[in-house]
């Protein structure tokens, strides 16, 4: 319980610092209080002056942050300037869509990546290892946005793109971890005693690599969430990735920073959960 409480406190503190940094970044940015409308050559000087007055910051940094934090505590995430709708409503509408893609992508990516890594470790064949490494290397060289376009062209299910992006990273890291575990003295002894390869991997190799694999899972959540931006934007999937892209194009800073803080929170929860599970695993192993 103490460990969980410590993790929660760390999470809360990190989120507060992250929120403060996000608010400060928005307020001090050179583009704060500017809009594309200001570049409209049809506007006369009076209209421009009134527009500038409307857009110019009305509060100093301290007041801005206090108001920002107070609003957040009330659960008020503000209004989206470009979409003219409450940010909370937009997130509630779009987050499930992204989470569906992320969960499916992670499940598939992990299943394929880990399976390939296990096959490599079990077979101990240079050719298999070389083939899988080459295939994953090719996947690693193609940007997510290109995958998105190719999937749209091929009319393939777009949700699988996340799996393709996560797969090579899962494969390369888990392969290294499992290979390292497979070389430990107790595993070599198990081989020498004639235990089957499957049994060795399941009972000796996996448990040793489990804490690091859990940490890798936390990292893969962050990768999947970041990949959601180009995939949803180019495949027209109505998730928070597409929302972030629209907000960036429309310079909707409140929406964009709220989304960044939200995604940071999800990543932190995933990482903390994995770290906690990993430390519990290590304690049990010890």
């Amino acid at each position: 319980m103490k460990r969980i409480g410590k993790h929660l406190l760390k999470l809360l503190l990190t989120l507060m610092v992250g929120g403060f940094l996000a608010a400060t970044l928005v307020r001090l940015a050179p583009g704060f209080g500017t809009d594309e409308e200001q570049l409209d050559t049809r506007l006369n000087s009076t209209s421009l002056e009134s527009l500038n007055k409307d857009l110019s910051p009305k509060e100093n940094l301290a007041t801005f942050y206090v108001h920002y934090a107070a609003r957040l505590l009330r659960g008020d995430l503000g209004m989206s300037r470009t979409l003219d709708r409450p940010v909370r409503e937009l997130i509630a509408e779009r987050l499930p869509e992204t989470m569906k893609s992320v969960v499916l992508g992670l499940a598939l990516g992990w299943l394929m990546g880990l399976s390939l890594a296990v096959v490599t470790v079990m077979m101990r064949s240079v050719a298999t290892d070389g083939l899988f490494t080459f295939l994953c290397g090719v996947l690693l060289c193609i940007p997510a946005a290109v995958w998105a376009l190719l999937f749209v062209l091929a009319r393939a299910p777009e949700r699988f793109i996340l799996a393709l992006i996560v797969l090579p990273k899962i494969y390369s890291y888990s392969r290294n971890l499992l290979t390292r575990s497979a070389g430990l003295p107790h595993v070599l002894t198990a081989y020498a005693k004639g235990l089957s390869r499957g049994r060795i991997v399941a009972w000796h190799v996996f448990p040793t690599a489990a804490p690091q694999l859990l940490a890798l899972f936390g990292v893969s959540v962050s990768i999947a969430l970041a990949t959601a931006v180009p995939v949803e934007a180019l495949c027209d999937l109505p998730g928070i990735g597409q929302l972030a892209w629209k907000a960036a194009l429309g310079r909707d800073l409140y929406l964009l920073t709220t989304l960044s803080v939200l995604v940071t929170a999800i990543t932190l929860v995933a990482n903390s959960g994995c770290e906690l599970l990993g430390s519990m695993f290590r304690a049990r192993e010890a």
């Binding site: 992250g18 928005v26 193609i142 962050s222 960036a248």
Partner: protein
């Protein structure tokens, strides 16, 4: 695998040479429009045809490659330098300072890169020129990409702090900056170099993603992101397979960096 590495180095040298000499190799400037020949097919004059604005695609690939191949290593240098300063100092000093720095690094690592890049990119003033936008895009990549490398360097520096040769140096009276510069930094060099090589393909890929979303280098300056954006013209692709050439060059260049990386990682 030595021949593969040699092939990767050879390919990168050819691509780098051609792109650096784009002023002499390219048949036209990247912004020059052949207005009477928009969407032209490949010919002797235009090796990869022209885009919808009549600009020679081969020239744009060369200039775009130059932008990415010059600035991605520059961004990688910036991020590795920051990682060395932050991670190296934290590992060398240790104690509470290390804990605070690593907590900040953890926070940075938790921030999803692309969301952060989109946010910072959207915060910039409206009237940025193409040259400024390219500089800003890669500078942002450099400034935001240090955290992972800093963690690795810090772990290595922490290990070295207690190493026998450092204890011996301390015992012989070497302290502070001298110890850092003469003993630690030279020994951190392999890992710093590995982090530098790791960052380059990552930054090239990130710029490509940003460019394809319309948030990277602004027109008319080409970059791989804006070149790959042409793949969005779906109806044209089936009849114009040469639109895939920039993608093929891109994949081979990033793949070549990965090949270099595998061997550069070994000393680390």
């Amino acid at each position: 695998m030595k021949w593969l590495r040699a092939a990767a180095i050879g390919f990168l040298l050819i691509v780098a040479g051609a792109s650096l000499g784009a002023n002499f190799v390219a048949p036209a400037g990247y912004a020059h429009q052949f207005r009477e020949e928009p969407d032209a097919e490949p010919s002797r004059q235009h090796l990869l045809g022209t885009d919808d604005l009549g600009r020679d695609r081969f020239s744009r690939v060369l200039y775009g490659t130059r932008v990415s191949l010059l600035l991605a290593p520059a961004a990688a240098f910036l991020s590795t330098l920051l990682a060395l300063l932050i991670g190296g100092a934290a590992g060398f000093v240790g104690g509470r300072f290390e804990r605070v720095v690593m907590a900040a690094t953890d926070l940075f690592l938790s921030l999803p890169w692309l969301f952060l890049l989109l946010t910072v990119r959207a915060l910039l003033p409206l009237n940025v020129s193409a040259i400024t936008s390219v500089g800003i895009t890669f500078a942002l990549l450099g400034c935001l990409g240090w955290a992972g490398a800093a963690r690795v360097i810090c772990a290595d520096a922490r290990g070295m702090r207690q190493a026998d040769f450092v204890l011996l140096a301390r015992a012989s009276g070497t302290t502070g900056t001298r110890l850092l510069l003469r003993q630690l930094v030279p020994n951190l060099w392999p890992i710093v170099l590995a982090q530098f090589w790791i960052s380059i393909p990552v930054f090239i890929l990130t710029e490509a993603n940003l460019g394809m979303l319309g948030l990277g280098v602004t027109e008319p300056l080409p970059s791989w992101g804006s070149l790959l954006r042409e793949l969005q013209s779906y109806p044209a692709i089936s009849s114009q397979p040469w639109l895939f050439v920039p993608l093929i060059v891109f994949v081979v260049v990033v793949g070549s960096f990965h090949f270099l990386l595998r061997t550069e990682e070994l000393p680390a």
